[in-house]
Amino acid sequence: MALDALANVFVRLGTASRKGITRLGFAMRFLTAVVSHSGTALTRPRLVVREVYFGGVLSLVIVGISGLFIGMVLALQGYETLVRFGASESMGVLVALSLVRELGPVVTGLLFASRAGSAVTAEIGLMKTTEQLAAMEVMAVDPIARVVAPRFWAGVISMPLLAAIFSMLGIYGGFVVGVPLLGIDAGAFWGQMQAAVDWRHDVLNGVIKSVVFAVAVSLIAVFEGYDCTPTAEGVSAATTRTVVTSAIAILALDFVLTVFMFRGGV
């Protein structure tokens, strides 16, 4: 009996992994399909611009406010620790490195997934449910080229820009708390930051991270929408999956990228 139960656990684990791997395979095949059907999206940039508006511009406020507050909190918390070592001048370094390397790409990715990614999933899912995608297909219009690819590319374009805005506002938030409020010297704040942050090693790697997250989140969002069960529950389940899968994907990819990028001091 106990052995049976144990076997059941393994069977379930095995089934779950098999399904997970199959889904990953489908998603990858979908990615190649999206990329190879991007001709329409790229020759008609209006399609992409429209989606950049819905994905990027409308996420601007939430991303900006979050960045500002996270930078301010980082500065306050960092001050507590740094002041014990008499190194409060390094606050600029702390705030800038945390934001540029980690928090900017990761938090923006999470916000983008829940604000824009879920909306894209719901939109595509609903188009599938109401046969709008099938209608396009019958009109000899490829829904992947016309609906999916523009949303995918809009995400890939918007998210790195949002991450940069997030980091910039975060650093500004840290400056506001650190310099006028806590009395750190403005010159030291910027100077130490500039001495410690390397544009290639830190800034560029942060941008690369945000691009990778953007591809992951956008792919998950369009894939879940396109792949959802065409019912009301199917769409809502797919929307939830987009947020959850995106969060896991971002954090896991972040670990992998960090290992490769910031390993050692070099």
Binding site: R50, Y53, G56, P160, S167, M168, I171, W190, Q194, V203
Partner: protein
């Protein structure tokens, strides 16, 4: 929402985003400064011990940043650390300049300090500094202090000047 309004908003968004990227690269990451560095010339300094010196640590002279540590390697024959220093073209140093590794603050980052001598010949790209002074190591310092206290009795002189490890350079010679 007309197409024109959407275009306008997306244009503003992209402009802000690119401005933020530029801000991160220039104001935070100091991209321009880096470029200046890349145009400088390289000199080598050999140390018995570099302590915690890291690549990209600043090179200062009289407290002013004049360049950066480009790379650090170990010479397999002499077992010395070879630090390649990239110095800004604006600054010229004499051939008998002394390079030393200092620590900013008690626990701060380490940097290379250059102290120019009186020679009339200036260093060129690829030259090696003959006189260097290794990093100060806390453990050595403490043990030296304790030994000298034990040897000299209560009125030991060791305290004020932390006896630097002797300049290593000339003995090992210059290797091309």
């Amino acid at each position: 929402m007309t197409q024109r309004a959407i275009d306008l908003w997306v244009g503003i968004f992209v402009a802000i985003g690119l401005a933020a990227l530029l801000f991160l690269a220039l104001k935070v990451g100091n991209l321009l400064k880096f470029n200046e560095d890349a145009h400088g010339y390289v000199i080598e300094a050999r140390f018995d011990n570099i302590g915690n010196l890291k690549p990209r640590a600043p090179v200062r002279s009289a407290g002013v940043v004049v360049g950066r540590v480009e790379s650090i390697a170990l010479d397999g024959k002499t077992f010395e650390a070879v630090a390649r220093l990239r110095i800004d073209n604006r600054f010229q140093f004499t051939r008998d300049t002394i390079a030393a590794i200092y620590t900013s603050g008690l626990l701060g980052e380490q940097f290379v300090g250059l102290e120019a001598g009186g020679d009339t010949v200036m260093l060129k790209d690829g030259d090696t500094l003959r006189k260097t002074q290794s990093a100060m190591q806390l453990e050595k310092l403490v043990s030296q202090f304790l030994f000298s206290r034990a040897a000299d009795g209560p009125s030991g002189p060791a305290g004020a000047t932390p006896a630097p490890t002797p300049p290593s350079s000339s003995s090992s010679g210059v290797k091309p």
